[in-house]
Point group: C2
C-alpha cells in the first residue's frame, strides 16, 4: 500500500488554518496516488491544546473540522488525530483519538491507551485511557493503529504503565504499525525514539510508519523526523527535522543524514524562535547586546530565524562597561548585517540614584545599584518594544536561570527566553559550531585559513561578566561554569540529592551552595519568560516546584 | 475512643520543623488522654510537594522523619500522611499513604485510591492508585481510613472516577471513617466539602473524623475547618478556619460559627500573605499606593497579615496624578498607622523621554509612554526592595489580570499577587466589609453614627483610573467592571464558549472583545507573580493555557 506521511506544523486552536493544511495535504497525496495519508497526533486542534480541552465549544470546533476534512476522503483514506467526547459518563470527558476517514465518513476510531503524566505531559488531566484493542483492515492490510506513547511500553517493560497496546493488537496479526505522534524535541529524543521504534518492529516482526508533529508551541519544539522502519529495523524513509514534509512511502532504503547534538539544538532554537513569532503574529525582535557571548548567540539565532532585517540590537553601555564590549558588539552586528542603536544608560541610572538619595543616603553600593542598571536597560528595551512593535528576546542561559544569576525585571525581561535550557558550556559549543559551519558555508576567497569568524573570537574568549560594578566577573559570585554546569545537570536533569552528588566526587560545601542557589531562585524563575525546551528536563511547564519549599533551601 | 484532630500548618520539605510540630502534637494529645491522634494528608513533607517527590533523597528524608515520629507513639497511636515507595516495579514509583503508628512501629498502611488530576492537582504525575481495601481494628473499633479525594466519589456518583473506596470498605463493617485531607480553600470549598462529608455519613451510617491541612503554600491556601460529623450528618466538632488547632473529639454538639463568603476570602488572603512571608523567611512588605482601591485593600490586608510596622508604602505621583490621589493615600496610611514615603516619578520619567527622543522623535504619545511611567514606579519600588529587604506586593486584580490591563515589569511587578484571584467587584465588597467590620471592632466613643471608615470613602467611590494620561478612566479601555466580571466569571470559572455566553444574554461584540483580550494576555500572565487562590478557578498552577494558542484569540 502506498502511504503518505504528513509531517506538518499546526497552530493550537487555529481550526481554519489546520484544516486547510490537512485538506491540501490530502489532495496532494491523492495526486501522487497514495491510498492512505497519515497525520500526527491531535493534528486538528494542535498539540498540546492544554486547558482549551475543557471548553465544550473547543471540542465542538474539533468535531466540525473533522467532518469537513472527511468530505475530502472520497478517493484516498486519511488517518487524523482529534479529541472525541467519551460517550459514557464514567471517567474523563474525552479520548485522545485517531479517526480513520474514507469515502467521506469515519470508518474506524482508535483511542490512545497510554497517557503520559510526567515532565511536560498532562494527558490524564484531560483524557480517559482506552482499553479495547482492534486492528483495522483497509485494502487487504491489517493496520495496528497506535498513538504516540502507545508504543513506548515495549513488551510491558516500561515500569510507568500496566498495559501494552501492541501486545494486545499483535494477537490479531497486523501487517503494519501506524503511529501518530506529537513527540517534543530534546537533544536525546531522536535516539530514544529510534530505540523504541526498533524494539517494536523487531519484537512484532512488522514494519512501522511513524509520523511526528513538527513546529514549536512556545516552550515545546516538535522536531518531526518521521520515519518508516521495516521489519528488520532498517530505516527505509527518514523525513526532515524541524521542517514540514509530505513523503510517499514506496521507495527503497535511504540512510538518515543525522546531525550532531549541538547542530540539532541549533536547529531547534531557530525553529522555536521562528514559530513563536509566526504563531503570535509578530515579525520583529529586539535584544540588548552586551558584547558577551549569550546575547551574541541570541542575535545570531534570531537573525537566522527571522531574517537579519527583522532583528534590532540596543547597545546599552554604562560607566562599568569595558571598552571592548561596545567594539565587539558592533563588530558582531556588522558581521551579521543587523541594525543596532547605542543608548547609554548613565544619565537614567544617575537620575534614579538622585531620586533615591534621600532614602539610600550613604548606604554602600550593593545589589540594589547593580539591579538598577539592569532595570534601566529593561525599561529602555521595553520602550522600544512598545513604540515600534519589537518583541524583546531574553538571553539568560540555563546556568544563570538555575542559580538565579540575573535581575528580575532587568535582564530577565523578554517575551521568549532563547537560551534558558542551554547551559553556559553549551553556549560556547554552539558559538564554535556556528563559526565553523558558517565558515564552511561561506569560505573566504583567499582560502580557509583566512575566514573571519562570524562571532568575533574576542566575544568567545573573554571571561564572562555582567559588568554591573568595576572589574566584575561571573566567577566572583559563581563557581566556574564547567564545574557548575556538571552539578546543575546532575541535580536538574538527574534529580540527584546532596549525598549522591558527593558520591560523584563534588565537594560538600560547593554542592550545598549550588543547591541552595537553585532552590532559592524558584520565585525568580516563576516570573521568567517561557523557555525553549531542548533538554529532557527544562525549566518551565515540565518542572513544577514550590516557591516556598524548604528542601535543600 | 478519644480521638485528637491535629489541624496544623506544614512547610513543604522542612522535615525538621514538620516533625517537631507533629511530635509536640502527639505529646499534647497524650497528656489530654487521647488514644489516637490523626494528622492531615502528607503532613510529614507538606502538601503539595510537587516535583520534590521525584528526588530519591526527598523520599528518604520522609522515611527518616516517619521513623523518628514512630518512636513517640508508645502510649498513643498516630495516623500520619507520608509518601512511600511502590514496592513493585510496575506503575508509578510512589504511593500517597497514611501510616498508622503505635507502640513505636508501623501497624498499618493505607494508600490513596482516588488521585485527582484537574485544576491545581497533579497526583497521577507522582502516585500509583491503590486497589486494595482493608479496615484496621484498633482498641475494638474498626477504622475506615481514607485520604482526601477517596471520599469524593460517594456511591460511585462522581463521573471522574471508576472506583469508590468506601463502597469496598463498608463491606467490612467499619465503625468510623477517618479522612486525612489537604483540601485547598476556594470560596465554595467548605460548602462542597460538607455536602460530600454528609453524603458519606448518611450513606454508610457511621460518623466521620475529617482532618484538613491549614496554612498557605504560595498560591494554595489551606483553610483547615476540620470536622467531626456523626452518623446523622450533624457536625459535633468544628475546628477553626485559617488557624492551627488540636482538638480532642469527645464533647457534644457544637454549632459551627460560619462566616460569609467575603469574610472567608478576607481571612484566606491574610493567611496567604502571612505564610508566604513566614515560609520564605521574609518580614517586611512594600507596595505602591496610588490612592485607588486595589492598592488600598492590599495595604490593609498586608498590615493585618504582617503587622502595621512591617508594611511600607511608596506614593509615586506623576504629572497625571490627580490631587485627591495623594491625599487619599496619605489618609489611608494615617488610618492604618503605616509608614509611607513620597517619591515623585516626573524627573526619572522625563529622563527616559530625553534618552529616547533621538529614536521616538515626534511620534505621538501612546502605550509606550504610559508603560514607561508604570515601569519607573516598578524600578523605584524594586530599588527599595533590594536596598532594605522589603518584598514587593502586587495589587493587580483578577479582572485586570484577565484582560491584560497592566504593565509587565511595571505595576505587574511583585513577589506575590494578593488580589489576582479577586474580581474588581469583589474588591469593592471586601473594602465595604473591612470598613463595616473594623467599625464594629472599634466603635467610636460618640456612637455608631460617628465612626470614620478605615478605608476612606473617596477611595471606594471614585471611578477607577490608572492615571497614566490626562483624565484617563479604566472605562475608556474596558467595559464597566460589573458587566466585565460577569463575562469573565462565565468564561474562566465556567468554561463557557462564545455561543454559550451569547445565550446568557451578553452582546456578541462585547463577548468577542473580552475573550480576545483574555486569550491575548496569556503571555503577560505567564510572567505575573504567583496569585493567592480563593476561587475554584484561579490564574496560576490550576489553569494551563497556551501562550500562542489561537482559539478565540
Amino acid at each position: 500500500m502506498k502511504i503518505a506521511l504528513a509531517q506538518l506544523n499546526y497552530h493550537v486552536g487555529n481550526f481554519e488554518a489546520n484544516s486547510q493544511k490537512i485538506i491540501a495535504a490530502i489532495h496532494d497525496a491523492e495526486k501522487q496516488n497514495a491510498e492512505l495519508i497519515v497525520f500526527s497526533e491531535l493534528c486538528i486542534c494542535g498539540y498540546p491544546s492544554r486547558d482549551f480541552l475543557e471548553f465544550d465549544d473547543f471540542i465542538a470546533q474539533c468535531t466540525n473540522a473533522l467532518n469537513e476534512i472527511a468530505k475530502h476522503t472520497s478517493k484516498i483514506a486519511a488517518l487524523v488525530g482529534c479529541p472525541r467526547k467519551n460517550p459514557i459518563k464514567e471517567g474523563k470527558d474525552l479520548f485522545n483519538s485517531a479517526f480513520f476517514l474514507y469515502e467521506g465518513e469515519v470508518k474506524h476510531i482508535t483511542d490512545k491507551t497510554l497517557l503520559p503524566v510526567y515532565d511536560v505531559f498532562d494527558e490524564l488531566r484531560y483524557f480517559e485511557p482506552n482499553n479495547k484493542f482492534e486492528v483495522f483492515e483497509f485494502k487487504g492490510q491489517k493496520l495496528a493503529i497506535t498513538i504516540c506513547e502507545d508504543i513506548w511500553n515495549v513488551g510491558n517493560d516500561n515500569p510507568m504503565y500496566l498495559s501494552c497496546p501492541m501486545e494486545e493488537l499483535v494477537k490479531q496479526s497486523p501487517d503494519i504499525i501506524l503511529n501518530l505522534s506529537a513527540s517534543p524535541f530534546s537533544y536525546i529524543q531522536h535516539e530514544e525514539r529510534m530505540k523504541v521504534i526498533r524494539a517494536n518492529v523487531l519484537r512484532y516482526k512488522i514494519p512501522m510508519v511513524y509520523i511526528n508533529q513538527v513546529g514549536a508551541q512556545t516552550e515545546l519544539i516538535f522536531d518531526g523526523g518521521s520515519v518508516v522502519v521495516n521489519a528488520k529495523g532498517e530505516v527505509t524513509e527518514q523525513l526532515k527535522f524541524f521542517e514540514e514534509e509530505i513523503r510517499i512511502a514506496d521507495c527503497g532504503l535511504e540512510n538518515a543524514d543525522l546531525k550532531s547534538e549541538i547542530a540539532l539544538i541549533h536547529d531547534a532554537l531557530v525553529l522555536g524562535i521562528r514559530d513563536y513569532f509566526a504563531k503570535l503574529g509578530f515579525k520583529k525582535a529586539i535584544l540588548g547586546l552586551s558584547g558577551g557571548i549569550d546575547s551574541a548567540l541570541v542575535l545570531y539565532l534570531a537573525a537566522e530565524a527571522l531574517g537579519k532585517e527583522n532583528v534590532m540590537s540596543l547597545l546599552l553601555p554604562s560607566g562599568f562597561s569595558s571598552d571592548h564590549s561596545l567594539a565587539d558588539a558592533k563588530q558582531l552586528c556588522e558581521n551579521l548585517g543587523t541594525k543596532y542603536e547605542t543608548v547609554p544608560i548613565e544619565n537614567n541610572y544617575q537620575g534614579f540614584i538622585q531620586a533615591l538619595n534621600p532614602f539610600f543616603k550613604d548606604l554602600p553600593f550593593n545589589v540594589a545599584e547593580e539591579n538598577l542598571q539592569a532595570r534601566v536597560r529593561g525599561v529602555l528595551l521595553m520602550a522600544f518594544s512598545n513604540k515600534f512593535g519589537y518583541i524583546l528576546l531574553n538571553t539568560t542561559t540555563k546556568s544563570e536561570a538555575a542559580v538565579g544569576y540575573g535581575t528580575l525585571y532587568g535582564d530577565m525581561c523578554g517575551g521568549l527566553a532563547v537560551l534558558g535550557d542551554v547551559y553556559k558550556t553549551q553556549v560556547y559549543e554552539l558559538a564554535n559550531y556556528i563559526n565553523t559551519s558558517s565558515a564552511l558555508r561561506a569560505p573566504s576567497p583567499k582560502g580557509e585559513g583566512n575566514t573571519t569568524p562570524l562571532i568575533p573570537q574576542n566575544i568567545i574568549s573573554k571571561p564572562p561578566s555582567a559588568e554591573l560594578r568595576p572589574n566584575q566577573k561571573d566567577s566572583d559570585s559563581l563557581p566556574e561554569y564547567d564545574v557548575l554546569d556538571k552539578i546543575l545537570f546532575q541535580y536538574i536533569e538527574k534529580r540527584k540529592g546532596p549525598k549522591e552528588l558527593m558520591a560523584l566526587g563534588f565537594d560538600k560545601k560547593l554542592v550545598d551552595r549550588v543547591l541552595k542557589m537553585v532552590n532559592g531562585s524558584e520565585w525568580k524563575r516563576n516570573q521568567a519568560p517561557p523557555i525553549l525546551r531542548v533538554s529532557p528536563k527544562a525549566f518551565g511547564m515540565g518542572r513544577r516546584m514550590n516557591i516556598e519549599g524548604k528542601y535543600l533551601g
